[in-house]
């Protein structure tokens, strides 16, 4: 968990050149995008600018932001997505698009965050379903055996 108690993750952000830089990013499931990064932190990374986009705030108001192409690396996995450049914010945020592109599900536990592969979650769900079905169509009970 990050300094403010929010779920956080160490990520490396890079543009087309250089090795990029490591950041502590807050996982924000209320953010539908890939990455939101303060403009002043993005400039030294040399992210390739795309242009602009509209974003809608929690109160329903809408404004515009610059967008850029960014690569995020987490441990040995990398994905390229769209970064929203925030003019005044100080926080690096990763959102639902990040989880979709990395094919991850995340769990918050007492003192940390676990990022798990979606395929692993699907395997667990499938195994649980099979176990449930086995229990439902299990061996006959003692009373039904007597009846037979």
């Amino acid at each position: 968990l990050g300094k403010n108690g929010s779920p956080a993750l160490k990520i490396r952000i890079k543009g087309p050149f250089g090795d990029g830089k490591e950041f502590d990013a807050t996982i924000d499931t209320g953010f539908t995008g890939f990455l939101s990064i303060p403009l002043l932190k993005a400039i030294p990374l040399g992210l390739l600018l795309y242009g602009t986009t509209g974003i809608t705030f929690a109160d329903g108001s809408t404004t515009y932001r610059l967008t850029a192409k960014a690569q995020i690396t987490v441990e040995n996995e990398s994905q390229i997505g769209i970064a929203i450049l925030e003019p005044k914010s100080e926080d690096v945020l990763i959102g639902m698009e990040f989880l979709r592109l990395f094919k991850k599900a995340f769990f918050i536990v007492k003192d940390g965050v676990a990022l798990l592969d979606e395929t692993f979650i699907e395997q667990i769900a499938k195994a649980a379903q099979e176990r449930l079905q086995t229990q439902e169509s299990g061996p006959p009970s003692a009373s039904s055996a007597t009846h037979l």
């Binding site: 953010f31 809608t56 929690a58 192409k69 997505g81 005044k88 945020l93």
Partner: protein, 95 residues
């Protein structure tokens, strides 16, 4: 080429992108709600994609020098954030 745009004036890029969308591409809403469109404000061309990164990458491939305004079709903003306008000063720091 419609006009000269500078990345130092993002408000003009966004305004022009919205204007092009309203006049030339709003019909896309009939069958493409939820998809993304990247509008090149320098050429008025639009690039559709199921995801925002697909639309922008196709746009960049087709127009390497383009400046793009990204719209999610049928939505006010392409992205939603969890904080509100009052929590942060959001004025452009440019021009």
């Amino acid at each position: 080429m419609s006009a000269d745009f500078s990345i130092s004036d993002p408000q003009s890029i966004a305004t022009r992108g919205e204007e092009i969308y309203r006049t030339k591409y709003q019909h896309l809403e009939r069958e493409n709600t939820g998809r993304f469109v990247a509008i090149d404000v320098t050429t008025d061309e639009a690039y559709l994609g199921d995801t925002s990164e697909r639309a922008l990458q196709d746009a960049r491939d087709a127009s390497p020098e383009g400046l793009f305004h990204l719209i999610q079709i049928g939505h006010r903003g392409a992205y939603r954030v969890s904080y509100s306008l009052s929590e942060t000063s959001v004025d452009w720091i440019f021009g």
